[in-house]
């Protein structure tokens, strides 16, 4: 394949054009990341006067801390919940919109709106809806005899952050699924219906396998979202509580570093988190992508 190539006669122009992006990446990503790596090997005294190099002590401490294991488990539950709920709902909505002919564009536009909402705002919104004292949903649930109080129940708190985080991500997943569905030729579905497959069978044997590249891509994106971007939602809804039941890895990084001022441990955790995400992505590319069809 031939690629379009621009040739700059001015030697400095390309560098000038690249500079803004490079500077932003350097200041906001590379520099803090490298600082995190350095400080993960250091310990500060309580007053911040002295830092000592402690090798891997921060890491060993974190890894032997039961609350870290708890956060790891919470993250796994949270990640599974958000990925399953957001992708499941998104796919369902996308299939519905794909079937609607006249108003498909309107639905698409409306369904994308939540994506424009900031995580904290989404958190506050669901915090209000699920507020045990003034919220609408606990009131309705009470009518069914169900007592909702996520300030007390860890399981309900987890459900709350899953719903709040998934809700925001549904829009994003939905857009990709709609695009994915539209790229599956209608004739395939028609051929399958002539071949005697009902609507459900058609979906699971023909359309869903052909969507697998989209599904795979979204899975990676969603796991990254869960790992990093869910902080705002959690902070605004449960603040990691009750009793650390919704403290995920990224939230623990914040709690230990910003609230607890244990920079060393927090940095070690952030480096570990990065490692986990890289590892997961690697695993996915290595094993899941092989099964991705066509």
């Amino acid at each position: 394949m031939q690629t379009k190539r621009s040739i700059f006669t001015n030697r400095w122009l390309p560098y000038v054009l690249l500079a803004p992006q490079l500077i932003i990446t350097l200041i906001f990503f590379i520099w803090p990341a490298s600082q995190a790596v350095t400080s993960s090997f250091e310990r500060q005294d309580p007053f911040g006067f002295r830092t000592t190099f402690v090798w891997f002590e921060n890491y060993t401490r974190v890894l032997s801390d039961p609350s870290y294991a708890n956060a790891l488990w919470n993250t796994a539950v949270f990640a599974f919940g958000v990925v399953a709920v957001s992708m499941g709902f998104a796919l369902l909505l996308a299939v519905c919109v794909d079937r609607a002919i006249r108003t498909a564009r309107l639905y698409t536009t409306l369904l994308v709106w939540p994506y424009a909402v900031a995580p904290v705002v989404a958190g506050v919104l669901w915090w209000f809806l699920f507020n045990p004292t003034i919220g609408l949903l606990p009131y309705i649930l009470e009518g069914f005899g169900y007592d909702w109080n996520h300030r007390v129940s860890g399981g309900q708190a987890m459900a709350l952050i899953v719903i709040a985080s998934a809700w925001k991500q549904i829009s994003y997943n939905f857009l990709f699924f709609v695009a994915g569905l539209q790229s599956v030729p209608a004739s395939l579905s028609e051929a399958a219906s002539i071949d005697g497959a009902g609507p459900f069978k058609r979906f699971w044997t023909i359309i869903f396998p052909l969507l697998s590249p989209t599904t795979f891509f979204l899975m990676i994106i969603n796991i990254n979202y869960v790992m990093f971007e869910s902080f705002g939602t959690i902070d605004a809804t449960t603040s990691g509580g009750p009793g650390q039941s919704t403290t995920t890895l990224v939230y623990k990084v914040y709690v230990d570093g910003v609230a607890g001022l244990n920079i060393g441990s927090s940095s070690a955790q952030s480096v570990l988190l990065m490692g986990i995400v890289i590892f997961l992505t690697f695993i996915q590319f290595r094993y899941v992508e092989r099964r991705v069809n066509y």
Binding site: L188, E190, A191, S193, I194, D195, A197, L210, N293
Partner: protein
Amino acid sequence: MASIKISSVRKVYPGNVEAISDLNLDISDGELVVLVGPSGCGKSTLLRMIAGLESITAGEVRIGDKVVNKLEPAERDIAMVFQNYALYPHMSVRQNLEYGLKNRRTPKAEIEQRVNEAARILEITRFLDRKPRQLSGGQRQRVAMGRAIVRQPKAFLFDEPLSNLDAKLRGQMRIEIKRLQRSLKTTSVYVTHDQLEAMTLADRLVVMNAGRIEQVGKPVDLFERPASLFVAGFIGSPPMNIFELATLRQLPGTTLPASIPAKADLVGIRPEALRLEEPAEPFIALEGTVELIEPVGGESHVYVNLNGIETLATVVVQGRLAEGEGSHIKLFMPASALHSFVSETGQRVE
């Protein structure tokens, strides 16, 4: 195997767009009927209505003795070959062939046997374990055919199956489809816009225009006795020359043959029927200059600028024309080769 009976079928799309109006067509058991017409004439819509992919606004479609209007495509027991083949890209060729049988809960041993048989007939046994993307256009076409024949359906529906192939392969596959259909004797409806394909494949040809049937008949009959100006222009390549009788009358020294009906105001003549020498029967003579010569293998297409007539006349000459471009030429229209039409209705008159 079954006949297909289409009675008073209409198709109206939302917004009151009538794609097909009051169409009747009987297709007998084992027959290969070709629907041909320009794009937008409703031929694909009609096929999709038979398949059940398109709802029927009014009228009745019968396959065998069963009215199928309300049946799902799967329940109609037909197989369709799509223009883009519509092979399932994530399945191997074998899985593609098996899919329809598995959905119908055919016993495993029978599936195996039928798939192998179909693969043998179509010579795709070697590719059974490949994915469609690893196949060439012609091989994909065979797989699409295979998927139709393993099911042993009541009817085959073909929706322009050869239009994505190059000219040489198209000719080859055309012959194979015809041979296959002859040996299987399965009722087939074949849609195409290619009139050569239509002429060569059809047991019976249906020429459609603007949602209506213009003429139904054997390809040779349609060629020799087109019922309307539309059919005359659509069947045959290069198309028929049409002249206004009023213009011909004014040409110096012309007497029109008595065989032309009084009602007619247009006459047509096939490019192959125009003579360079005076025929023994009554004729109309024309004169003109050779505008362009297209050598087409064994014959030449000659375009002649006639004196006193605005449109170019097309003549098919066997071999090569002795005269070159720009030279003066005389043409003769034998009375027996003339087709007479009424311009107002567009219909043929005898």
